[in-house]
Amino acid sequence: MFDSVYAQLVGLCTGALLLTSALMVWRHTLLASIRLLSAQGLSLAALVAVIGVQENEVELLFVALLIIATKGVGLPWVLAHETEAGARAIKEAPRLNPTASLLIVTILTILSYIVMSQLIGLGTSVTSHAAPIGLAMVLIGFLLLISRRRARSQLIGFLLLDNGIATVAFLTSGGVPILLEFAVSLDVLLVVVILYVFAGRMRNKFGGTDVDQLRELHD
């Protein structure tokens, strides 16, 4: 019975992942981006849980709980912490206008489908068919890194990139061992905390986190 729903559930989850990624490029306020990131973390957890049920692996369910804890709740909470009010006000002045960036997102998604089909073949299974979504998320994360000026918005691009890598891992090989997943999650958490503290310091010191201004120090 579950088999018939399985393909649709996987499609739903990966679709949600791609949709949240595209929305992150479109929306400009920091708070909206953080919420989208949280939604994306939950979608990723759902995807892992669905795969776990299908493959009858209890371990994957634990991984799903871990993902909910870190990517769904932990990281967004750290990001939104203490700037709940401020985040609403922080508006990004992006280097690309929304229309152009959405167009690029489309091109990147198409590109990742082409690349994945050439590279590993889309295969017959449902999960490997959806694998290009992961690559597309990686590329979109990269695009965010490039197009955003503020350090915190770039952090979100970085997390999107990380989510993309995790998605590819789960879709192509059924996930990495739980210990590794645990370590990677903690790593990312640590990086985010450090960068976050760093960004806070930058804002206190220079009154803003526009990375473009950093080159003044260099010259």
Binding site: L111, V115, L139, F142, L145, R149, V211, D212, L214, R215
Partner: protein, 681 residues
């Protein structure tokens, strides 16, 4: 555990001990304690080297964590010879430094800690039996010498500039050597020297590796056009460090070239030999030309190093050329001559640089035009410097003479084998090489007559020179040891020639030739014979003969002089003055003036004459100031344009890397996309 292994272990331990002493001991005792520890390190290295040179073998294997073979130190006879040479130089340099580098930046903690590092690096390069440990020891050596060079950087800006040149040229050399080893390792699949020696002779890999090695080791051995660091670095380093650099480190460059030509790639085609000969000949001529017109004592010695290394490479190239035409007796003789030249250069150039150091210690001057009359005030230094200068000018009773004599013999007789012409190339190259050596020897004589005569004879040209005092006893001891070594190698060349021959006969190219054991034979302890060529030299006997002839003549002169008491001559026409003043003497610049005119096209000197007239009269001159600068043609015509181009390129490229993180991320992103697209095509 064999003696050599124990020696190598002891060297590593002593180096660590010496560094610790330098770091911990109080400043008042630092130079003495560290100098003693360095001297002990050098003495152990000397013993190990001598043992390895006479045939003892031993291996020290150092396991490493990295995924590669263990580091293997196992000096062969050739390596032992060079280890002994650099250690002997290190010994007298350490003794000298104990006294000369006592205070100031030269005696700082950092400088003294770098000294044992430099020494042990130089000792381990000849011990290395695989390319990885060779390169590691090479870098240790470079690191130590760079720190030592920079000792005085705070006080003089020219030291920093020299440091930059030295680092850049050292890294260039290292890059070429690394690339050479990489090519050989790629072609043979091993990093040990024995594995690399299996490369197919005449293959593209062998040729490419050879050219890379020549560029790399030629840079360290100061060959033209890679010598540009020499006239900056050797004069600016503290004198005992310049002595170690010129006497020992440069020999490591020669050793590298020998490893390549004798051990790794013994079957050389003729063009390799010709290439080395051309490089060596050009270096010899250019080096001695620059030395002969220089009026800075240390610059003069630095350029003279280039000249001597040029002669060594000339001998090496001649040996390779002759061997490729099967004239093995002459080839072996030329190789032995090249090695002897390297050994004797270590002895006399270390002595000369230490002598220059003593002069600087006493007067604070290294400009010959402001020295003079030091012979009477500093007899020990003058004697040692004189003996070193005789060695550098290749005069009899010194080591330089024996080596150059042997080299000339092999070149003169090398073109023919059993009365037949060996080849056209050899019969053109050999006479040309002889001509180069002849010109070089003549100019070297002139150069060192100038260096000794202007600095130590005549009357002081400055108050500093007039107030000079003899240096402390430790420096005198080091100078005396160096000078004795020059004399011993020159008067008793038998043992060292046999030992050098044994190293040639035991390794690569020499082992293949039948005549290697008999190319040079010692007669007693003092004589040398070249049976393959049919020439004999016995310096001691010659000296005794000359004395037998000369002493009666001298006695006769002295007796006749005693009969006629000396007359006091006044100046026939003094032009108003009664006696010649010190300023009327020849100076280094005026002595070299004819040479500068003759070689005007090569040296491109710039002259600046300023005449100040008295009042309104243009007939009366108050003051004339002449300034002459000889620049290095290679630097102004080759390196400067290249550096300028690189700088312009750098300014243009600065826009590409403007510090914006977005731009860097865009580069990575674009690269990623391009890779993805290319992979999926």
């Amino acid at each position: 555990m064999s003696a050599v292994t124990a020696g190598l272990l002891l060297q590593l331990t002593l180096a660590a001990v010496a560094v610790t002493i330098a770091l911990l001991v109080a400043p008042a005792w630092r130079s003495r304690a560290t100098g003693l520890a360095s001297a002990a390190l050098a003495a152990v290295g000397l013993a190990t080297g001598l043992a390895a040179m006479t045939g003892a073998s031993g291996t020290l294997t150092i396991p490493v964590v990295l995924p590669m073979d263990a580091l293997t130190l196992s000096p062969d006879r050739l390596g032992g010879l060079f280890m002994a040479v650099v250690s002997a130089v290190g010994l007298i340099v350490s003794l000298f430094g104990m006294s000369s580098a006592r205070r100031g930046p030269e005696g700082s903690r950092t400088a003294w800690a770098a000294m044992p590092v430099f020494l042990v690096g130089m000792q381990l390069v000849p011990a290395a039996a695989d390319s990885v440990s060779f390169l590691l020891a090479w870098e240790i050596m470079t690191l130590g010498s760079t720190v030592l060079l920079l000792a005085d950087h705070a006080a003089r800006a020219s030291v920093s500039s020299a440091g930059i040149w030295y680092s850049a040229m050292s890294q260039l050399s290292f890059f070429f050597i690394l690339a050479g080893f990489a090519v050989l390792a790629g072609a043979t699949g091993g990093t040990s020297f024995t594995a690399m020696a299996t490369v197919e002779p005449g293959s593209f890999a062998a040729n490419l590796a050879f050219v890379l090695f020549v560029l790399g080791f030629g840079g360290k051995a100061e060959l033209v056009p890679l010598h540009v660091w020499v006239p900056r670095v050797l004069p600016e380093a503290p004198s005992h460090v310049s002595a170690a650099m010129s006497g020992a480190m440069v020999k490591i460059g020669v050793y590298g070239a020998l490893v390549v030509c004798v051990r790794l790639l013994p079957e050389a085609p003729a063009w390799w030999g010709i290439m080395i000969m051309v490089l060596g000949g050009a270096s010899a001529l250019y080096g001695i030309l620059q030395a002969s017109v220089s009026s800075d004592l240390k610059v003069l010695l630095a350029y003279s190093t280039t000249e001597n290394m040029g002669l060594v490479f000339l001998g090496l190239g001649a040996s390779m050329l002759l061997r490729s035409y099967d004239a093995t007796a002459a080839a072996d003789t030329a190789l032995v001559a090249a090695l002897l030249l390297a050994v004797s250069h270590a002895a006399f150039k270390a002595t000369l640089f230490l002598g220059a150091g003593a002069v600087i210690h006493a007067t604070g001057e290294r400009n010959l035009d402001r020295l003079g009359g030091l012979g009477r005030r500093m007899p020990w230094t003058a004697a040692a410097f004189g003996i070193g200068a005789m060695g550098a000018a290749a005069l009899p009773i010194t080591s330089g003479f024996v080596a150059e004599w042997m080299l000339l013999q092999s070149l003169i007789h090398g073109g023919r084998l059993n009365g037949e012409v060996v080849s056209v190339a050899a019969s053109v190259a050999m006479p040309l090489a002889v001509a180069v050596i002849a010109l070089t020897a003549g100019l070297a004589l002139l150069t060192f007559v100038k260096a000794y005569g202007i600095a130590f004879l005549a009357r002081p040209r400055s108050p500093e020179a007039a107030d000079a005092r003899e240096v402390p006893v430790m420096m005198r001891l080091a100078l005396a040891l160096g000078a004795l070594m020059v004399l011993a190698l020159g008067l008793l060349p038998g043992p060292i020639s046999e030992a050098v021959l044994a190293t040639v006969a035991s390794s690569g190219a020499g082992a293949a030739s039948s005549s290697a054991d008999t190319a040079v034979a010692a007669i007693g302890i003092s004589g040398v014979a070249l049976p393959g060529i049919g020439a004999v030299l016995d310096p001691l006997l010659l000296t005794i003969l000359a004395a037998l002839v000369g002493i009666p003549v001298l006695i006769a002169i002295v007796l006749s002089a005693a009969k006629h008491p000396a007359r006091a001559n006044d100046l026939p026409w003094g032009g108003g003055g009664s006696r010649a003043r010190p300023r009327m003497q020849y100076t280094a610049t005026s002595y070299a003036e004819p040479l500068v005119r003759v070689f005007d096209d090569v040296l491109k000197p710039t002259r600046d004459v300023q005449v100040t007239h008295v009042g309104e009269s243009r007939y009366l001159v108050e003051r004339v100031q002449v300034e002459q600068k000889v620049t290095d043609v290679f630097e102004t015509r080759f390196y400067r344009p290249m550096l300028n181009f690189l700088q312009r390129f750098g300014i243009v490229v600065r826009h590409v890397a403007n510090g914006s993180i977005h731009r860097y991320l865009t580069y990575s992103f674009t690269a990623l996309l391009i890779v993805l697209i290319v992979v999926s095509l």
